[in-house]
Amino acid sequence: MMRKRTKYGRYALNVFAGLGLVYLFAPIFFIVAFSFNKPNGNFNIAWQSFTFDNWLHPFAEESLTRALWKSLEIAAVSTFVSTILGSLIAVALSRYKFRGSGGINLFLVLPLTTPEIVLGSSLATLFLGQNFIDFGMTTIIIAHIMFQVSFVALTVRARIRGFDWTLEQAAQDLGATPFRTFMKVTFPLILPGILAAGLLAFALSIDDFIITFFNSGPVQTFPLQIYGASRVRIPPQINVLASMILFLSVAILMTGTIAGMRKSAEKQATAKKFKLLQRK
């Protein structure tokens, strides 16, 4: 009796999880499917007929394409700067024991526990009160770096938590200069963590809407363009570009996972060989 009930419980939980996945994918399925729709009028919201046209002309909506390039440009610059700033903070926090590190840890979480609308509007009040920079690319990039730094610092710190810093001493004992030690030992080892954080920062920048909305001035990023256009028209190219970004991210994710799996498989193989040798 007891056993039966837990068994049903098991199934129920799995079914529930499956439904959860369906819920997560419902709008995604919709977005991809409607990229093949031939809309009737300005709004791509009712299914008419199947067509490859949109995929053959993904960049037909000029303003949308321009906005996407702007977003990529902003993301590239802000990710580059924030990854450097954030990684330096992460290295400082995990490499050294120093006065005030607790306070720094707390301070880093603050931007993440502040609602985006507060970050965006407060930064806008700062820019309103000066006349050095006009609202535009510069202010957007500044804003993006601001919220990316904390994410990068915390991600890199989590990734290099178990890093063995005595390796640096070993290199220096063998006569390497501090610079050489960093380039040949430290940097290659923490690079995967930094790259992962950089990817996250890039994704955050591309998708940011609320903070950018307050600090964009005349510049239209991809999300801003969609927002502005959504009342007058929703062209199918939005779905095509969104699907492209989706497939590209999935491809990156899959290469990462496969590379990781291969690496761990290699490691296991080496460990096995080593064990065999020991047995002999």
């Binding site: 007891m2 959860g20 959504s230």
Partner: protein, 356 residues
């Protein structure tokens, strides 16, 4: 001669204090410049202090020898990022508070005078009380829903995923690689009045049940409070699911087996072993979900109606459309302070050190 050497040694030995002091002073200088604490000739004084402090630390690093350099290193690494946050995170918060207490010079002016204008806060509460209420209530309900949906999903992936664990986790994250706005617009189309969801619900006869549950309103799914809450739940689900997954993943399965060996039922083992160990994840997830949800205005805009606007909509409208910066800033300040208070209370009650 010897005296200077001794003094230099003392400074070098305490280089960490010097480094920290320099970082704090430099941050304060930047906040002062950004938030207009100073004006006129004082600006050049502050800039001079800033340059002197940074130059001084650099000088100490060059002349102080390896020990001083080692002590200064962490502050040197921290400084670029910290100063950036001082100027573009701390100073803005200050200038937000300042504008929230200012008055416009005239109706169409863009100039503001700081004059402790507390009436901005009175206006914020009086005219936008409903929006504050919506923001907190909707965000709270959405947070509970993300736990109800996210926890079982994270549990199944962590304990029953087996070798498909990473693939399942990838599946959970993939939907969030499409733009936030596009996802929300997609929901508005899915839930549309003549969309297949509404038609299917009515065909199966669930329409009346949903109506009774107040999820549907006059045969509509879209433009209801339920749609806004549903959108918030969907968009912030990964922020709940991933921390819960991380904390479940860390649990040693042997602990659960041990509970079973000691004749604990599965439910009891979950209640007494698994759930307590996953609380840090639920805790972090709650903060990561509630905070952005309370400040959101995209879901209310695309999925709600004029009676379901949240405080984010009002801030955005007052700031960017009416250019009424003082009242918008007052609302943002209230939102910031109330969320900070809630977070503090919450940390006190469920306190954990795993957050940072």
């Amino acid at each position: 001669m010897t005296e200077t050497v001794v003094r230099q040694n003392r400074i070098a030995r305490n280089a960490d204090r010097v480094g920290m002091a320099a970082m704090i002073v430099a941050s304060i200088c930047l906040v002062a410049l950004g938030a207009h604490w100073v004006s006129g000739p004082m600006v050049s004084v502050v800039v001079l202090v800033l340059l002197l402090v940074l130059g001084g630390v650099l000088g100490l690093a060059i002349t102080g020898g390896p020990e001083a350099r080692r002590l200064l290193a962490p502050y040197g690494l921290l400084k670029p990022g910290m100063l950036w946050l001082a100027l573009f995170f701390l100073a803005p918060v200050w200038s937000l508070l300042r504008i929230s207490l200012s008055t416009k010079e005239s109706r169409f002016s863009v100039k503001y005078n700081f004059n402790w204008a507390f009436q901005n806060y009175a206006t914020a509460f009086k005219d936008f009380g409903k929006q504050f209420e919506h923001a907190f209530v909707y965000a709270a309900i959405a947070t509970v829903l993300t736990i109800l949906i996210g926890y079982p999903l994270a549990y199944v992936i962590a304990f029953r995923g087996g070798k498909y664990k990473n693939i399942l986790l990838g599946l959970v994250v993939i939907p969030f690689f499409t733009s936030y706005l596009i996802r929300t617009i997609a929901w508005s189309t899915i839930l549309a009045d003549r969309g297949f969801v509404v038609r299917a619900l009515n065909a199966v006869g669930l329409g009346n049940v949903f109506e009774w549950l107040h999820i549907m309103d006059n045969g509509k799914l879209l433009n209801t409070p339920a749609a806004v809450i549903g959108g918030l739940t969907y968009n912030f689900l990964p922020f709940m699911l991933l921390p819960i997954y991380v904390s479940l993943e860390k649990i040693d399965v042997n602990l659960v087996n041990a509970a079973g060996d000691l004749y604990s039922s599965a439910t009891r083992a979950f209640r007494k072993v698994v759930f307590p160990l996953s609380i840090p994840g639920v805790f972090a997830g709650t903060l990561l979900t509630f905070i952005p949800a309370a400040g959101d205005f995209v879901n209310a805009q695309f999925l709600g109606n004029p009676n379901t606007t949240m405080i984010g909509n009002s801030i955005q409208d007052q700031f960017l459309k009416q250019n009424n910066y003082p009242v918008a800033s007052a609302m943002a300040a209230v939102l910031m302070v109330s969320i900070a208070t809630l977070v503090l209370l919450y940390t006190r009650i469920f306190g954990t050190e795993d957050l940072a």
